[in-house]
Symmetry: C2
Subunit: 594 residues, 2 copies
């Protein structure tokens, strides 16, 4: 059976030594987030993850959710009890505005706790995760009345929430959506239509569920310009705040899926359900998109989280399983065989895993810090930079971390050999669960298109130029640091390749948009490697500064960082070559030839 | 729901135009294999695959196998009927020696049919596949009496067969195995012990199952030098050939696995079961290994097969699903949206798939031809070369094709977006089924070690030198062919990189065996890309010769071949860089630090 222990020391290293969050103590939220408090929060979070959430991860997968004839859905054994503990612990409101009952801590700290919750039990994490996303949309676009009505109960965890976008005939292309909204003259609308793939659409964890639903108001323009966003509570809310009558929304069925069995993926039927407009008429997509960055970062985080938990279990097996002898002679001659951790190829899988996971965590937390700064920084310049970075990094983090999370879960499974394929060992669940993150919240190919089609050219390329300038400054500032040189060189060469690829886009994508699409995914991969190189350079710098402490943690960080340069970063060259090959061979076949 | 149509034209292109098998009509088996007969066989095989085996692929996955209290195992609905059709069609003996009832056709043709069967229903294919492996071992190592006793019924498909290697504490390291064999003085042995992960260990498809079991004769040396191979029939066979008493072997349980649910993966308990030595005492591992090449090629084939069937279903969806508009303007303005095949990133996934699958098929069939030549070629030199090639190519094909088969099944699933994650669409089953092929029959890391530790240095590197000389000759012979130049250049540059990597091994692996282990998997990847480059160069040559025919098939082959050069081959550079980085960072961490 699997286990999970949050990598507290790694997390604190990133927060305190790399990002040095104490530097931001003048900002709201950060002022309360002293090193001690953060340590205590992460410690408590790790207990919740290890003792409450992870023990029901595998059983939840086996049992799955059950839909009853009346349309109600029961979550697996233990989920309701675990959710009560989560709710009572106040975890849902950790980084939410205190005005509505949140604790107002930095988003960054919420992300670190989110990593633990997702690693321990991804299917569980999605219930509060979706609710938080819905709450954030109401917070950003709701009227004061709407905020007062919905947010306190959503932030306390009393009520759940969902996002309803996809319909049977449209997922990526929301312009095709058919769900309609008919105004009732009293400010409310009757919503009718069918939504599919609605995560946490129906369940027994909360008394009410606040659905956010994209629909087209009767007579609205076709396409994406006629889509509005509505609040549709499962139970209407009475004047006094108590729950009123049941709304016309129900779960028609739940999907049988490859993984995340413990999360109910619902077909939701809206049959003249009463809803209220959230934000402006016909601007529903925009309202959805403003909160997309955080939702997509959250999915990227799932990739990182599954990578971490699968690593831990693969490594534990590799230290325990005796098979064969070290190539350099028996490591433990007393035993019938050596633990398989002595074998280079087993280490290759685990070191790949470490170099990715540790780098990705630093990069993700660095980005999450900008998620705070975008709202909280004191000067406009920093806020703009933060907004630019969030826009730029979100699709890269979402796609790369989920692709690699899946690949590394597969690697960890491979470490166990045949046992990795057997359900009771739990490794194959990580693979099945990780798989969805590459698809939902915008399939990874869409992320790549978002990167090259929107984020890159936005504001004349300001975001990437700012990022390049930051890298140059980092390299220059540390020029004399001989020990850091390998990382600085790696970072510089990655940036050079990325620059070349970016120039290729400028020269080739305008004249033929297919070139942009054709090379978008490899460009994203190259960009991600550059970000990881930057993350590792920053970590190496911080670790070098602490090396004298004698703590092996820092020495090991540098070894893993060196491994990143040797064994992960070289992939950039293949990405660059692919980018530059363009779209000709890719687009040449007639569609019927496929 | 999924469908499968065997890629007959691609198969015939490889057999007739690339390998030109009519050139071998002087050899046994090939003399009967006229182009017409082969076409007819493949045609019949494709009907079996499409109409009998694929329709029960998904239902078999959902239902799985059932073990009853008495230890018997029932296969899913329809499997027994399908097996009868398979058996009656004579498919099991297609390439087996006519002396025992086979049809004596080339192994190569058996491989092509095997591709169809595995693509249509991998879990089904394993039942006859395991039986064929056991029959081949008896054919290679059995006494005349044993061959007469077992082979006719195994080759007709009346009886099944299995391989029993793994025990709970040992899979890769068979030297640790504990199953014991006690001689009874009458030529028989009593076999006792437990074997795990025994595919097709117990089922209801055949009246008898012939288990081949590795065990240690009482008093035999420890380690791999004391292991013998035994024939242990489920039912003993009477003098007259009828089935006698039940032997002391039973299925203790069946595993719940990630995939291949329709194949029974059994814990097999041997409780003083009567067995007979197969081959020489204490030389059981060697007997196992002589048939390992074909078994491992068969697993590599599963990777290719799943890649093909998942491609077909991904491509069908991409042509059907309407979502978004082509980047260059609406492709089908009449419809509400364009089919997603217009999007470059969807094409990227499908073209990656094609370039791999078509190249891998040519490479696999080319290798299978040497599987025939090793026994059938008239001159010693060709037989030796064939033996060298089989030894060299087997681990590369096994590991690379299964890694990529899984990766491409994942890509095809991605094409379907959310639907790819839902069980009823069938795409996620391909991923789950494909996953096991990377693990069983020697985990892929073991294949890489076999390549660099045994196959590469064997006979002073004769095999690879012969292969390099063949590539040089091919390039030289075609030097004037301007249209072929891109493929010749790609092949030459791949060979140059592989040569550099090989020299790195010679210089660095002797002094530190960890260097060999550390870089084995990337070396294997680079080797595979070189083989694919050679396969594509041969296919491009054949397609160029037929280009004037006006058949779009050849034009499309060249486009896909060009895509291979643009988008797959560049990965070689990353592999080479990783190879040369060696083992230092990989091995530096203390085991406890993981």
């Amino acid at each position: 059976m699997t286990a999970y222990a949050a990598p507290l020391k790694d997390m604190q290293f990133v927060l305190n030594d790399v990002l040095q969050i104490s530097k931001y103590s003048n900002l709201p939220g950060f002022s309360e987030a002293s090193e001690d408090l953060v340590e205590a929060i992460l410690e408590e979070g790790s207990k919740l993850a290890a003792n409450v959430l992870h023990p029901i991860n595998h059983s939840g997968d086996k049992e799955g959710c059950t839909r009853h004839e009346d349309g109600s859905v029961t979550t697996p054994k233990g989920f309701k009890e675990a959710y009560e503990i989560y709710k009572e612990g106040g975890w849902q409101g950790l980084s939410f505005d205190p005005e509505y009952g949140g604790q107002g801590l930095p988003y960054l700290i919420g992300v670190a706790v989110g990593e633990m919750v997702s690693a321990a039990n991804m299917a569980f994490a999605m219930y509060p995760g979706l609710a938080r996303g819905a709450a954030e949309a109401i917070y950003a676009h709701g009227s004061d009345e709407q905020k007062q009505k919905y947010l306190p109960n959503m932030i306390s965890g009393e009520w759940g929430g969902t996002m309803n976008l996809t319909e049977p005939h449209c997922g990526t292309d929301l312009g095709l959506l058919k769900t309609k909204a008919v105004p009732q003259g009293d400010g409310s609308y009757k919503i009718s239509g069918q939504k599919i793939f609605i995560s946490a659409g129906e369940h027994d964890l909360t008394d009410n569920i606040i659905h956010l639903v994209l629909a087209r108001i009767e007579g609205a323009p076709e396409g994406v310009k006629g889509i509005s966003l509505f609040i549709v509570p499962k139970f209407r809310i009475n004047e006094d705040g108590s729950l009123g009558e049941r709304n016309g929304v129900s779960c028609g069925s739940i999907e049988e899926k490859m993984g995340i069995h413990a999360n109910s993926t619902c077909v939701m039927n809206y049959d003249e359900a009463t809803g209220w407009l959230l934000g402006e008429e016909n601007k529903g997509l925009r309202a959805m998109f403003t909160m997309m960055n955080e939702a997509r970062l959250g999915v990227g985080m799932q990739g990182l989280a599954i990578s971490e938990v699968s690593y831990q279990n693969g490594a534990a097996y590799a230290k325990d399983r005796l098979q064969g002898r070290a190539l350099t002679g028996p490591a433990d001659p007393e035993k019938p065989a050596d633990p398989i951790i002595v074998h280079p190829d087993v280490r290759r899988m685990l070191m790949d895993h470490r170099a990715f996971t540790e780098g990705a965590r630093a990069w993700m937390y660095w980005s999450a810090l900008y998620g705070d700064l975008v709202h909280k920084a004191e000067d406009d310049e920093t806020r703009q930079k933060a907004d630019d970075y969030m826009g730029l990094m979100t699709p890269i983090l979402k796609a790369y971390l989920t692709d690699k999370g899946y690949a590394h879960a597969t690697n960890a499974q491979q470490v166990l050999g045949g046992h990795g394929y057997i359900q009771e060992w739990g490794m194959e669940q990580f693979v099945r669960d990780a798989r969805i993150a590459m698809i939902y919240e915008g399939a990874n190919g869409i992320q790549a298109l978002d990167l090259v089609g929107r984020k890159l050219p936005k504001d004349g390329g300001r975001a990437i130029m700012t990022f390049f300038a930051e890298i140059d400054e980092f390299v220059k500032d540390n020029e004399g640091n001989e020990e850091l040189k390998p990382w600085l060189d790696g970072l510089s060469s990655a940036k050079a390749d990325l620059t070349e690829a970016t120039q290729w886009f400028m020269a080739n994508a305008m004249q033929n948009p297919n070139n942009a699409g054709a090379s978008s995914m490899d460009y994203l991969g190259l960009f991600a490697l550059t970000c990881l190189a930057y993350a590792w350079a920053q970590m190496a710098k911080a670790a070098l500064e602490k090396k004298e402490s004698g703590d092996a943690f820092y020495k090991n960080k540098l070894i893993t960082g060196k491994y990143f340069l040797d064994r992960i970063l070289p992939e950039k060259t293949a990405h660059l070559a692919k980018v530059k090959s363009g779209s000709e061979a890719m687009m040449a076949l007639d569609a019927e030839a496929f």
